[in-house]
Subunit: 321 residues, 2 copies
């Protein structure tokens, strides 16, 4: 199935919402649909659209895959409670970490996360709830990059020929598939989602697993989580499109209190971009870079070195893995 | 043996040279001494001091360990020919690469280079020439860092208790051991060495092996060599203390012509420093960083990502490995 982009200049948010709510209603009928909310703009928008369409017939889950940012599960759930949407927390931390053990190849990591998410965790929820429909926030850039072979998005299945009904027992509905990120933000704003959601920088599906080069373990995710918190505290005031901290597997030599300290390196990326299709490193002031390096090496255990990525996309991508 | 620093403000270059020339003469007597010249300020200064002291009784070698920069062996030899010093080229590329095969730990790499240099290559030259003395450019910062346990300098032996006469069959003379780099530069200038030598940024002993994280192979050294050339072309006009390009072992995702390209990352470091004891990343203009990233990703095969190190020393060190 060929999907056409709906360009932001052709988008009428109110009309789009009305149409999608009707579509979701008519597809799901009187059945039950479920969806996973991560707190990102895509899944938040889908949650609100489906909530409008289905009310009590929508079950929304927050899957704690151990790869979330600090405090994220509680914060997202309470934000949606205020919006009248009940979200159930599923603690799947052990399942994801077990699935990721020993894997270093990025595509295999994505595959492990996809399998755990769709098959193990959602499979169980589907069986328990009897839901036949899964709503999901796949957007136009996701399918474009996957089809082009740049990277496999964890939430892209039908486009690469996987029949979810057959493979996992449910059908996937993707109401945002024709929109790029800026258009999704418009819809989110129109749906009265809070600004922290509709203007939130992207934080892709594999979450902190995408911020760890090499094996994803509880300890290494914790380092990436702390580094991510610092980057977000220091850079949320910029107008950057996205900012991230990546834990490298390569070790480098450092020195502490006059002694050799062979430790870790954190790479920081901060992107100026309109649509994630192309991007440039934000020209952050050196005082900001100094502060980032100082905080990383003082607050994150084992970090002796910090870099800033200076490559354009292309040939870089936004994320490292 | 405790070594005291001779501070630059207490240094009288002419007097220092006179004294060291006499010392070298009196130690070596009518015997034969050999030394290895890399073209750096330390070994160049030692070569000139020993040449003044010993004339024909000094044999100077340029050891091509396969870890040199592009065109370096030929350029160094012709520079010294103009200064009246004959330098013999020793092709030891295979020996060094064989010794480095399969090793990824930085200290083991240093050890492999040390062993190959002192034992295999110099051992043979000593036996062939009958020389009993090796002159070498160890400076005060080298011993300070080694004794402190930060990193093992390849040219530091007696300070860590290795008896070179017993281990390798020759005695080491280190005329610059009380001087830090800026003082060595003063001596080099006073000796009429060309400015490209006396103001040359440091390029430490393990050479490009220190610029490759992970295994040192001919192919990976070639990538580091190309990246180093670009960094030197772009940054030689700055007043930076030292600038370097490091090939990482970690792979990152990139995109070329719309297709995924899982490739290499180059890290660039550029230091403001007086004496290598402490340092700050040079605040290079973003236009310069852009150009560096563009050249690296276009001119060096397999490179899809470039970073700039933003860490202070300490806790970073100047080099990565």
């Amino acid at each position: 199935m060929k999907i056409d982009e709906m360009k932001i200049e052709d988008l009428h948010p109110e009309e789009f919402i009305k149409q999608k709510v009707e579509e979701i209603s008519s597809i799901v009928g009187s059945g039950l649909a479920i969806n996973a909310l991560s707190g990102g703009v895509d899944s938040s928008t889908v949650t609100m659209l489906a909530h409008k369409a289905l009310g009590e017939n929508l079950k929304t889950y927050f899957i704690d895959n151990s790869l979330m940012r600090e405090g994220e599960p509680g914060h997202v759930i309470s934000t949606f409670k205020k919006l009248g949407v009940d979200v159930e927390l599923i603690d799947a931390r052990k399942q994801f970490l077990d699935a990721l053990g020993g894997i270093t190849d990025p595509e295999e990591k994505r595959e492990a996360i996809t399998q755990t998410f769709y098959k193990d965790v959602f499979g169980l929820l589907v069986r328990e709830t009897g839901a036949k429909y899964l709503l999901q926030g796949t957007n136009y850039t996701d399918i474009e990059e996957t089809v082009a072979g740049i990277k496999r998005q964890h939430n892209i299945l039908e486009q690469i020929g996987i029949n979810t009904e057959k493979a996992y027992g449910y059908k996937v509905i993707e109401p945002l598939i024709q929109l790029r990120k800026p258009a999704v933000r418009k819809i989110a704003e129109e749906l009265n989602l809070p600004e922290e959601i509709y203007s939130r920088p992207p934080f892709p599906g594999p979450a902190l697993a995408a911020r760890v080069i090499g094996e994803v373990t509880a300890e290494r995710v914790e380092i990436a989580r702390k580094a991510t918190k610092i980057v977000e505290e220091e850079l949320s005031g910029t107008n950057a499109f996205q900012y991230l901290a990546i834990l490298h597997e390569d070790k480098v030599t450092g020195v502490r209190e006059g002694k050799r300290d062979y430790g870790s390196q954190i790479e920081i990326r901060c992107w100026d971009s309109k649509d994630a299709k192309t991007g440039s490193p934000t020209r952050l002031p050196y005082d900001t870079l100094d502060r980032l390096a100082e905080r990383m090496t003082e607050e994150v255990a084992g970090v002796v070195s910090v870099t800033y990525n200076i490559t354009q996309k292309p040939p870089s991508t936004i994320e490292a893995v």
